[in-house]
Amino acid sequence: MTSRTRLRSGFGLVLGLALVAAGCGGAAKDELVVGEYGSLTGNDADFGQSTKRGMELALDQLVAQKQGKIGGLKVRVVVEDDQGKPEEAATVVQKLVNQDRVLAVIGEVASGRSLAAAPICQEAGVPMISPSSTNPKVTEVGDYIFRMCFIDPFQGTVMAKFTAQNLALKKVAILTDNKNAYSVGLTQFYKESFEALGGQIVTEQSYGSGDTDFRSQLTAIKAKGPQAIYLPGYYTEAGLIARQARELGIQVPILGGDGWESDQLIGIGGTALEGCYYSNHFAADNPDPRLQEFLKTYAAKYAGQEPNAIVGLAYDAGVVLFQCMDKLATQSPEVFKGLSSSRAGSPERKAACKQLRDLIAATTNFPGVTGNITLDANRNASKPAVVLEIKGGKKVYNTTINP
């Protein structure tokens, strides 16, 4: 009997704690809360951590310029971990929207998780900006969903053009990361455009993210004798694949997408990556003062490291959001009040979020660190892609390809 009572009280305790946790949180009256969710733990932990760093930099900048305040109210960023699971992404965004009463949400990197969370933001009328979900479906969820990056079809086409025209190659092998929707998407669009440009895909091989041994695929590729390998995966595998390819005596250039972007790419691939190309959002050797400033700030904050593209995109997303909030505060102070003082879901809050959404949608030629960003009618960033070449152990700007 006693143990049963103890059990019941234990259960009550957990439930009580949950209710307490549910009760507190939420915005105090004098602050503006922005939500951010990402995979801080789990297989894609690097993505979530990068997004978090980008937002931290954006917030730091706000603190430096305006004491962290917009319209006289302090801005607070709530970060939640989704463990890299779509169902968790949906739960944490519900929490951000209803518990923390955020007025906008930044996230996710992986398209699958953005797709799970987007309907919640859309329904609640809270703008969501994905820094780097490249799948076209994400912003198709509704008019409150935005992204700061170009989409898969564009990037695939860019690299296909680059292969067929700039490099003048005809026979390409593709090595896709099949566990990764981003890689599957790029493969599809690359293949379509490359074949349309008269090229030939000699073989399509695949691997799964997290694999570390690619020798069997590479051995099969070698047998087909391609002039280049298109490898639209992440830098973690790209470096390894390049090394193993050279080990097996494959000397042709390897081509990739923005998933390659990382300060660790060359550290891991070493000389194996010489003469390889990838498409990206920005080139670090671009003399643009904004970008150089950003690189310097990042290195100062994070022990001399170099930011990856996700950090840059998250930073741009944060800055765009803060600017739009600021515009709202100056343009219509009455509406702006609705952001801070009223409950989630109240009419004045919805009206304010609607205005904020309109301001974000109107973003034109915003000078971000990842290029000049204009949001098109489908709420996708339309901006040029750059192609980088790896030369002498450095990433060197090669060419710009416009949308």
Partner: protein, 300 residues
Amino acid sequence: MSEFLQQLVNGVTLGCVYALIALGYTMVYGILRLINFAHGDVYMLGAFFGYYVARAIGAGQDPHPGKALIVLLVAMAGCALVGVLIERLAYKPVRRSSRLAALITAIGVSLLLENGGLLLFGADPKFFPQVVAARNLSLGGGVTISNQQLIILAVSVALMFVLRMVVMHTRIGRAMRAVSFSHTAASLMGISVDGIITFTFLVGSMLAAAAGVLVALQNPKIDPYMGILPGLKAFVAAVLGGIGNIPGAVLGGLVMGVAEVMVVGYLSPTYRDAIAFILLIVILLVRPAGILGKHTAEKV
């Protein structure tokens, strides 16, 4: 033909790594009837220990066989300690409980090592320094083998040989076999069962650490979650060979490695992870106790 031979070389190397990890699973299972889910994470820790040691002694800038050996030995010692701690703190208290309780504990330890590792080491993957400069050797007929692959082969074969000697020809090895046969009978013969169990974890963890360092040598990307999939596949390899059976684990590992590489090369790389399990199910349906496992009649 040269492509086939090349795939075979790659497969055997991969198989050796699986075998090293599988040995730890199979020894613990043989003695405790426990699926040590945390074993794959010990393998991860081995790679990380090696990473920090290699950076501390600057083995990356100035590759030297002696330094590489230090990296390997320190990682093995570190993991031996971790293995013993896990056994003493988490598994020993549940040893007298049901096997499922022990299994859940093992899962808890596995989650703890992964998430603790994430906190300690950070989320961004680390890249293992090149403690051995890569070089390619031609085996003739278009087949190449890297010196790193050769090291993996040599070190793992050497370790398996040492293990075999320990288990078959030393007092402690005989004690291990006795304990795996029956705890009660062994303790009646004056064997310290607790001591033997601790020793088993020590040896198993050392082998996993060696596998971690060897793999990192060849595929330098390491992160706190790297142990999950190889751990799972190595466990499958152990079951495949007949769990609790040491030569079985080696054989299972090799079969898994070669089969996986051949499937990727000749059938469909997309089904790489599935193939391990399909193979397993087929073999278990034909030989329910694994390839080398003895089918014991059940006592009534």
